[in-house]
């Protein structure tokens, strides 16, 4: 029988398809990054960190946007499923913000001469990471789980304010971080080969994020099944 996933925690055909697509996509992305795109003249090989750096922050923005929407829905009507979706995407957002921060620091060392500087873009991204780490920890820190989830939803809504701040920080303040070269009014300031590679990496990372979120949601569903089995009422 074809299943897209199930409450037993088993992987369905959709999970398998997403996993295989992400894996093949990653291999193709590596070929595009290392073979297809040219080496940048000024920065050299380390410029190729840009592709994973950008695709990672895209996943983080996407994850935190879904947390924002799901948190609004949760405050309107407290639904366990909405909370589960929000928490799964928050976790993915934190994982990819971590990759963004680390890959950025590694790129910065040979280019700026330091792994870290309290630059507006870097600082606001670190704040973003901290906001969603707190978001994930909050229900466990507050005794009443229902209240904890509501507080987390409030953090999920207010915390999203930092996303446009991170994005616009390079325009609003003097910063060491390079100016936007993809999301600009004039269009991408990149050679076409680099532009196609950026788009492909974003697509592959999105598939990977959806795959990981589905795994995360299955864990929550299994936990619920386990709690129901343990409950003395049954």
């Amino acid at each position: 029988m074809l299943r897209s996933g199930n409450a037993e925690g088993g992987r369905g055909w959709l999970d398998d398809a997403l996993g295989v697509a992400a894996l093949i996509g990653m291999v193709v992305a590596l070929w595009l990054i290392f073979i297809y795109t040219p080496v940048e003249l000024v920065q050299g090989a380390v410029q190729k960190v840009f592709y994973i750096h950008l695709a990672s922050i895209w996943n983080a923005y996407l994850g935190f946007f879904i947390v924002f929407v799901a948190s609004i829905l949760y405050l309107r009507r407290a639904s366990a499923r909405t909370d589960r979706i929000a928490r799964a995407w928050a976790e993915i957002g934190v994982v990819f913000t971590t990759i963004t921060l680390i890959s950025g620091a590694i790129w910065a060392k040979p280019i700026w001469g330091t792994y870290w500087t309290w630059d507006p873009r870097l600082t606001s991204t670190l704040v973003l990471w901290l906001i969603y780490v707190v978001y994930l920890m909050l229900p466990g820190l507050i005794g009443d789980p229902e209240r904890g989830r509501r507080y987390a939803a409030i953090v999920g809504i207010i915390g999203f304010i930092d996303v446009p701040i991170v994005h616009m920080s390079v325009r609003w303040w003097r910063t060491l971080h390079p100016d936007p070269i993809v999301a600009t009014v004039e269009g991408p300031a990149l050679p076409m080969s680099m532009w196609y590679t950026v788009l492909f990496c974003i697509a592959v990372f999105t598939v990977l994020a959806v795959f990981l979120v589905r795994q995360r949601l299955q864990i929550d569903e299994m936990r619920e099944t386990l709690n129901a089995l343990r409950s003395p009422a049954r």
Partner: protein, 59 residues
């Protein structure tokens, strides 16, 4: 700029990407596996108890 040194940084960035992504994936898979085993064990226990009760009722 030292191109070879730059290549070390490039390698480090991609290695960390794979470590974080696969590490997270294996963390999820392991959790899911443990939970599945626990659910199956509880179900079997319940089914066993259920059939014992049926046998007792039949006797």
């Amino acid at each position: 700029m030292d191109a070879i040194q730059n290549f070390d940084y490039l390698f480090a960035a991609y290695a960390i990407l794979w470590v974080v992504v696969f590490g997270y994936f294996f963390f999820l898979t392991r959790q899911l596996g443990d939970l599945r085993r626990e659910v199956n064990a509880l179900r079997e226990e319940r089914e066993g108890r259920g059939s014992d009760e049926e046998e007792e009722a039949g006797a």
